[in-house]
């Protein structure tokens, strides 16, 4: 089984890493649109156009389906990508919402915070889907500054503390129990976010996607080796460096079976 992973830049490597660690795939083909990153602060029409260009790319690549790692793309362009794709395309929103449900916390006691880019939050997609499950206490907040912080590797320290305070100071009284990390960059600072909310659970798109694929596609293969190939619209070398930093072994490190 071969999977394609699309993201606006390097953030989706967190999803690729979960797919890698699942051992469910023989091949992962990653494409990051690094020449036009970020998407989260851009127009819906612009994101849609870029997303359809990514589908052009994957239409010519030998994978069984495509995972859209980027939350912004998943809320803005998924239906159209599915329409123009010659293979199935799956977004991260539904898996994230399913993962929320599977924690089996009491819906009345669970106070959920969704954090994501402006585009994702403004779409209201997460909020609608979570409320549709019967959760009454859902707070959504755009937290765009986390993205450049992660890209500058500020995973902890006074800047991150100041930004957490900036976004969340008014939520301390809400006793948040679960935080949906609605942007692929956020898992890198999941520890700091969980600590800020006194050990709240965090929902990670990559882990959620693996669980969802296993359930939906009845996947149960096991590959000892997974071949990871990385493409990018610019500076693929930089994407490979980040992948290595984030613990994702590349093709040269993990030869095919």
């Amino acid at each position: 089984m071969k999977v394609g992973v699309f993201d606006s830049g390097v953030g989706g490597l967190t999803v690729a890493k979960s797919l890698y660690e699942s051992r469910l795939f023989s091949d992962i083909v990653y494409y990051g649109d690094t020449a036009r990153v970020p998407y989260g602060s851009k127009d819906q029409n612009t994101v849609l156009r870029y997303a359809l260009e990514a589908i052009e790319f994957f239409n010519g690549v030998d994978v069984d389906f495509v995972v859209v790692a980027c939350n912004t793309v998943s809320v803005v362009a998924l239906a159209q990508m599915q329409q123009y794709s010659n293979k199935p395309v799956y977004g991260v929103i539904e898996p994230g919402v399913l993962a929320l449900q599977q924690r089996q916390l009491d819906k009345n006691d669970d106070r959920i915070l969704v954090i994501a880019t402006k585009a994702t939050i403004n779409s209201g997609e997460y909020q609608r889907r979570i409320e549709a499950l019967g959760y009454g206490q859902v707070i959504a907040r755009a937290t765009p500054l986390f993205v450049p912080l992660v890209e500058e590797q500020c995973y902890q320290g006074p800047i991150l503390d100041a930004v957490l305070q900036h976004y969340f100071a008014d939520l301390s009284a809400h006793a948040i129990t679960t935080v949906v990390l609605g942007c692929t960059h956020y898992p890198l600072i999941a520890q700091a976010i969980a600590a800020y909310f006194n050990g709240a659970l965090t929902i990670h798109s990559g882990e959620a996607m693996v669980a969802w694929l296993q359930q939906q596609l009845q996947l149960n293969a096991h590959f000892d080796k997974t071949r990871v190939t990385i493409y990018a619209s610019e500076n693929v070398a930089a994407v490979k460096r980040v992948a290595a930093q984030w613990g994702l072994p590349l093709q040269s490190d993990a030869p095919a079976k």
Copy 2:
């Protein structure tokens, strides 16, 4: 006299504002590549390609010359833009360096800090030109986090303080006297930067460009009204909102003479 202003996004509005306030121009035509912003963390080849597409745009626009407000583009692509343009193209680096010279501080006592994007700092262009003037004490530092902070309107407060500390804590012993703001976003936080360095002078690309144009082109017109027209590769309404926030009157506010 009509001037075109090119920037990767909204940052160049700080330069457009200086041009507006100079009263030297009847028309300012601004183009921001908001669909692909930011440039400062991207590849040289990518920035060059985008810059030449901007020249295509300005080749079809009725202006007398084009000002490249973006420092990154000015260091990476100026010569090629001049080659493909059907009118003169001026970058912000030379004006910035000239402004430094005109302060008439003693070169031996002047301790200069240049801050800019990674692309601008890595090019070494500012450093080379400033050192060529005989300044011995030049420190250059990439400060990319300032850009998203300005875009989130964090012009002061604990996040900005933490970021200033992050970038500059080790410079406190250097008694910086002058800071070259080598990115169009930085004038918005010039006060905080000057305060951090105990009242250091700041060099602002927009003001430097006006002084340089006056000197180079012997401009001495005076227009009571300046018509400002804004174009963007996406979401021109958002650019106009930022222009209004930053105090740049738009066409509807300032009808042509």
